[in-house]
Symmetry: C2
Subunit: 251 residues, 2 copies
Amino acid sequence: MVTRRNDGNALARNPAGDDAAESQGGRNAVAGKVIRIDGRDEDSRFTAILDAAEAVFAASGYDGATMREIAERAGVAQGLIHYHFSNKQKLFESVIVRRAGHINTQREHMLADLFSCGQLPRTEQVVAALFRPTIESGLSMARDGGGFARILVMLANSTGEREQALAQKHYDPIALKFIDALQRTEPELNREDAVWAYMFAIGVGMTMMAKTGRSLRLSGGVCDDGDIERMMEKIVTYICGGIRALARKPD
Amino acid sequence: MVTRRNDGNALARNPAGDDAAESQGGRNAVAGKVIRIDGRDEDSRFTAILDAAEAVFAASGYDGATMREIAERAGVAQGLIHYHFSNKQKLFESVIVRRAGHINTQREHMLADLFSCGQLPRTEQVVAALFRPTIESGLSMARDGGGFARILVMLANSTGEREQALAQKHYDPIALKFIDALQRTEPELNREDAVWAYMFAIGVGMTMMAKTGRSLRLSGGVCDDGDIERMMEKIVTYICGGIRALARKPD
DNA sequence: GTCTATAGTTCGATAGAC
DNA sequence: GTCTATCGAACTATAGAC
């Protein structure tokens, strides 16, 4: 008999996933608190915990983050985190699931729109669709901006089992669609080079999302990695140049 | 009165950095063990600790790594690590210093050689000089290959104070030389775009050094990020294409 | 130099009152 | 749902024998 809750869907509310001991009377399911049917309410400590976790994981990494700091930042008791998310691993995945679902839906729609209007889009537009939803989500985000983007950087570069499993589950399917798209906008690009092109594009994009401030240092104040719009412009130019160079020189 | 030792140079042997209490007789400085004057001997537990630390930091990150695991892997007592390196932070820096010095010397020489023989080199050669020494060091490395490269990925993508300080200290100077070199091989490239070009190149390079295995997954077994030579070929093509696209389209 | 043993701290997770 | 209190485990670092 395990005491864990919420074993299934990582974002399911009301975590009574174990057995059906619901009918023992007293304070049942929905008590006094207002719980919206769609489950995506602002306020509520549930969301506060996710926001705090996102910020702390982004700043300190998975191992560097502590449940205590997350609880403090969210303004809740540490025990409440375990009530809602069971453990650290599940909390981390929940942070990712919350954003990845919405972002990837957007990315998929942008991509579909590009190919739905008769003529073929430019590769520049495909690359823009690759990053735009993520950086936009990063900007409108909780407190200090860019938290989720930094978590994506961790996911992209880590070899850890935990990170690779999450990347595979939440990002591989959409990645394949972008690889297909690149082969359509650059017909000379063979499959191997299309995959490399995608991987390298992600690598360049991580430079933007990491926001380490190094470009500012190296350029003496000229290249600001906080100026997302300018950086997007440069990145799209660079990536498309790289892709076309691969297409021109196959083997 | 602090008990810390080895406060200065992170790789100084015989850590008696505190005061001059050397003349109290008995077992003095060099006792029975053979210590080579150049200080860079194989065997010896000092080196074993650095090798183990490199592997464990690479696999688990700074916070995920534990002194216990490093000690076990090195086959030494945990206390010995603190005798040689004082604490975790200094051990981490020592791991970086050991490789970065040698690698960056090589990179600097390769770069100087390219520009010393009369005519201007190709950008392709500059980009090769950027990565070749690092990946070669990664291959000839301790046990399982590529450990240090993965530590560089951490360094490049982290916003943490510790990582940024190390990157600045050990990698910013050589970075500026490569940025200068790019402006010489691509005269149309203005300074801002040269810095972006360098940052993006590093981003692409990190894709190679991270070796997550994702390209293999996405390509159904075709794109092997363990095949360094093939990947280098693709990366050089891609990066040069990107750089030239930036040079062609300034603003 | 190298080891054993352990002090002192912090972490993730649980128990139980309300 | 939410909080307080705490347990047991793991961590870094130190002390002291050899």
